[in-house]
């Protein structure tokens, strides 16, 4: 008699813990062959609010870490993913990726994390400046994280795109509330398990699964989210920009109509970090 394997109940990673949706709602996920795979949490606005609260708690501590320390933690994330390639390969296969495609996506994701791990203690030196003002003042500009950032991941490259969006955001000390791909949510569930075993403090990255229609309107209007990034279609962009007005959120969205090549080196770099920092300029007189 063959042993019946134990199936995993997928839970989302929020505030450093694994939770199901407060709404107690789930949606069934089929694997590539069309068979039932699992019930995925259908997170709603209440879960988004809880995730924002978790991110708010983690924010000041994460922003105060040294840049060197943040770099090492992001490097550690890459180590976790490298060590658990097989798990992630299976997760991507659920969404229909071939073994080769999954391996390629995992490799690109690891390399992306390494890229940002190296940026953590350098972007400031390129983006900031000492400014030669025409008066006896010392004047310098530094960057600061914006705070809590809402991200919307696309369905394409469900692991790589999600990591490409969140890595630059946390590199500079922001915290993240991200909605994973709706069509291929399972890699985000497994990514949460890897984040939990990395050195990333709980609450820095919060990953939700569910439907965009449940999350986008609240993401648009939640006053504690300081910026919104990721991929959105024209209608979602309109909703997000309108909702962002009241709290003057920063909105940095890729149009879904112009797909990003997430595998390209152009999908990573300094300006992805820059999109989610504020510039602060300080003046002080020079004198006795």
């Amino acid at each position: 008699m063959t042993r019946l394997p134990i199936t995993k109940t997928p839970k989302v990673y929020v505030g450093g813990a694994f939770i199901r949706s407060e709404s107690a709602r789930t949606f069934p996920l089929q694997d590539a062959a069309g068979n039932f795979f699992a019930n995925i949490p259908q997170c709603t606005r209440k879960d988004l609010r809880n995730a924002v609260e978790a991110a708010a708690k983690a924010g000041p501590g994460w922003a105060k870490r040294t840049a060197y320390n943040r770099g090492q933690i992001i490097y550690r994330l890459a180590e976790m993913l490298e060590a658990r390639r097989a798990d992630m390969g299976d997760a991507l296969a659920v969404g229909g990726a071939t073994r080769a495609a999954a391996a390629k996506e995992i490799t690109a994701t690891i390399d992306r994390l390494i890229h940002y791990a190296g940026w953590a203690d350098k972007y400031e030196q390129v983006l900031g400046s000492v400014n030669p003002v025409a008066s006896p003042h010392f004047n310098f500009t530094v960057t600061e994280p914006m705070g809590i950032i809402g991200l919307l991941a696309p369905d394409e490259a469900p692991l790589l795109a999600l990591v490409s969006l969140l890595a630059p955001v946390i590199t500079s000390g922001n915290t993240v509330v991200a909605l994973a791909s709706t069509a291929r949510p399972y890699p985000a569930i497994v990514l949460g398990e890897m984040l939990a075993t990395s050195d990333l403090p709980g609450g820095v990255v919060n990953l939700l699964t569910g439907f965009r229609k449940d999350i986008v309107p609240t993401m648009a209007t939640h006053a504690h989210l300081r910026a919104i990034g990721g991929v959105a279609n024209a209608a979602e962009r309109h909703t997000l920009k309108l909702g962002a007005v009241e709290s003057v959120k920063r909105v940095k969205l890729h149009p879904a109509e112009e797909p990003v090549d997430w595998f390209s080196a152009k999908a990573q770099g300094l300006y992805e970090i820059r999109d989610f920092v504020e510039f602060k300029t300080t003046w002080h007189p020079i004198g006795a």
Binding site: V126, L127, S129, N131, P132, V133, A134, S135, H137, N139, T141, E144, R226, R237, H238, K241, L242, A244, V245, E246, S247, V248, R250, P255, G269, L270, Y271, R274, E278, F279, K280, T281, T282, W283, H284, P285
Partner: protein, 502 residues
């Protein structure tokens, strides 16, 4: 304790009492010292479209008045949507045929030329600016106009060095930029907007504020004199709705707005359905924090400069004074002494410190806030001063006994009104300073370097002035956190908001 007593002329002083402080303001009368340069006004200004003076499609004009005496200065074209369309067509043509493809080094030379021509006519511009806006001539002469020229000069040099703006990437201009600027620094805000846009290779459609259109048209004269190709900058005057048309125009690849948070939000809603880029420089309610170890006399100068510069009509004005409890009475006493000698009056007088409020509407708004402050329980104090019989004047005003919930501590007044609050610890100072929806600027006064750096890290504001206030420079990025807007103006960081990465 330097709390001033109710001063009278220091006569008949009984023996043995200490001499009262010498307060010049009430000991001497000042003879008038008006600036007499000719502002060279035309009776009527048309729109500036495609390098030419064009009558508005409406055929209508509106008056701009001198807020210091309520007399008409000149009349200005009432631009509308048809004029905005024409301006965008001209700008788009200039972008595709001339300006967008001109080598940066050549663009630079135009901008240098504009800076030089503005310097040549500096005094004329200063008088024109003061007549139109009510600001003291010493500010328009020593700050607004030279700083405007400096912005053109600074950005000129960037035009052929754009490879250094975004290390690792190439940059390209966006196209036509729509810009709307406020009435508090009419010429300077034009320079802040136009100079970086042009350096990067964009063309511009810009609207000055309805109250203060004069120097925008005079600047257009300089564009003509400089030989700037037609259509590179187009100036449209008119009401707020015309500004709305500029912001929402489909040709605008990017819009840049400086003004109130309320209007900024209206604009953002109007373009939410588009993919236009935006920069917004909106309101503020800056905290100016004075610790007990600060050089207090310097701090008092900084407080005065912070809130009474340009009659307090400054988005980054230090409108909330947070003073450490142990020195609060001392600081308020010194501040009152200082305010007694501020001269409020004719903006054209070279001795005037506080000029006219820009308009009757704005004066009414400020007066409504004074009323609200008193009604909510704060204690108002104004130095005795004689206001001119005509024009929109307001004595410098301070409120003590203010709490964080008072409207005068929460809302941007945009006038010479200071709300004074106290604190005990560093943490309390930071918490109170950050307890606002705004985040444009903040001031810190202390002798302790490590405390300055702690506060400059923890204050949520785009500009931190430590042991100084209200300092500006084209090389220094300016802009806000939170509801004070987004994007930066000035410096390398500001340029990046006028280009796309390729």
């Amino acid at each position: 304790m330097a709390t001033p007593t109710d001063r009278k002329r220091p006569t008949l002083r009984p023996q043995g009492r200490p001499a009262p402080k010498l307060i010049f303001g009430d000991l001497w009368e000042y003879d008038p010292a008006p600036e007499t340069a000719d502002p060279k006004l035309k009776p009527r200004y048309e729109l500036f479209i495609n390098g030419r003076w064009v009558a508005p499609a409406s055929g209508r004009y509106f008056d701009s008045i001198n807020p210091a005496n309520e007399t008409k200065l000149a009349e200005f074209a009432l631009g509308g949507t048809a004029d905005v369309d024409a301006a965008y067509r001209a700008a788009q043509r200039a972008f595709t045929t001339v300006w967008g493809r001109m080598p940066g080094g050549e663009r630079a030379k135009y901008l240098f030329r504009i800076a030089r021509l503005l310097q040549d006519r500096a005094r004329e511009f200063a008088v024109a600016e003061t007549l139109d806006s009510g600001k003291p001539i010493k500010e328009s002469r020593d700050f607004d106009v030279p700083m405007a020229a400096a912005h053109f000069f600074y950005h000129a040099g960037w035009a052929d060095k754009l490879d250094y703006v975004a290390p690792g990437r190439k940059v390209a201009p966006l196209g036509v930029v729509g810009q709307v600027v406020p009435w508090n620094f009419p010429l300077l805000m034009l320079a802040w907007k136009i100079a970086p846009a042009l350096a990067m290779g964009n063309c511009v459609v810009i609207k000055p504020a309805t109250n203060t259109p004069l120097t925008a048209l005079k600047l257009a004269e300089i564009f003509q004199d400089a030989g700037l190709p037609p259509g590179v900058v187009n100036v449209i005057t008119g009401p707020g709705s015309t500004g709305g048309a500029i912001m929402a125009h489909p040709t605008a690849a990017k819009i840049a707005f400086t003004g109130s948070t309320e209007v900024g939000k209206t604009i953002m809603r109007s373009v939410a359905g588009t993919d236009k880029r935006m920069t917004m420089e909106l309101g503020g309610k800056a905290a100016n924090i004075v610790f007990d170890d600060a050089p207090l006399d310097q701090a008092v100068e900084g407080i005065v400069n912070g809130i009474f510069f340009n009659q307090g009509e400054v988005c980054c004005a230090g409108s909330r004074l947070l003073v450490q409890e142990s020195v609060a009475r001392l600081v308020v006493g010194k501040l009152r002494n200082r305010l007694r000698v501020l001269r409020v009056g004719n903006p054209l007088d070279k001795n005037t410190d506080v000029g006219a409020i820009v308009s009757r509407d704005q004066l009414n708004t400020i007066q409504a806030y004074l009323k609200a402050g008193v009604e909510e329980g704060a204690v108002m104090w104004q130095p005795p001063c004689r206001l001119p019989p005509k024009g929109f004047f307001m004595p410098p005003t301070i409120f003590t006994g203010v709490t964080q919930s008072h409207r005068i501590a929460r809302e941007e007044i945009f006038g010479p009104v200071l709300a004074i609050l106290t604190f005990r610890t560093v943490e309390e100072a930071v918490e109170k300073a950050n307890n606002t929806a705004y985040g444009l600027s903040a001031g810190v006064w202390t002798d302790k370097g490590s405390r300055i750096l702690k506060l400059s890290t923890e204050l949520k504001a785009g500009v931190i002035w430590a042991n100084t206030f209200n300092k500006f420079d084209p090389a220094s990025p300016f802009g806000g956190y939170k509801e004070s807007g987004f994007g930066r103006e000035g410096g390398r960081q500001g340029l990046l908001d006028y280009c796309k990465l390729t």
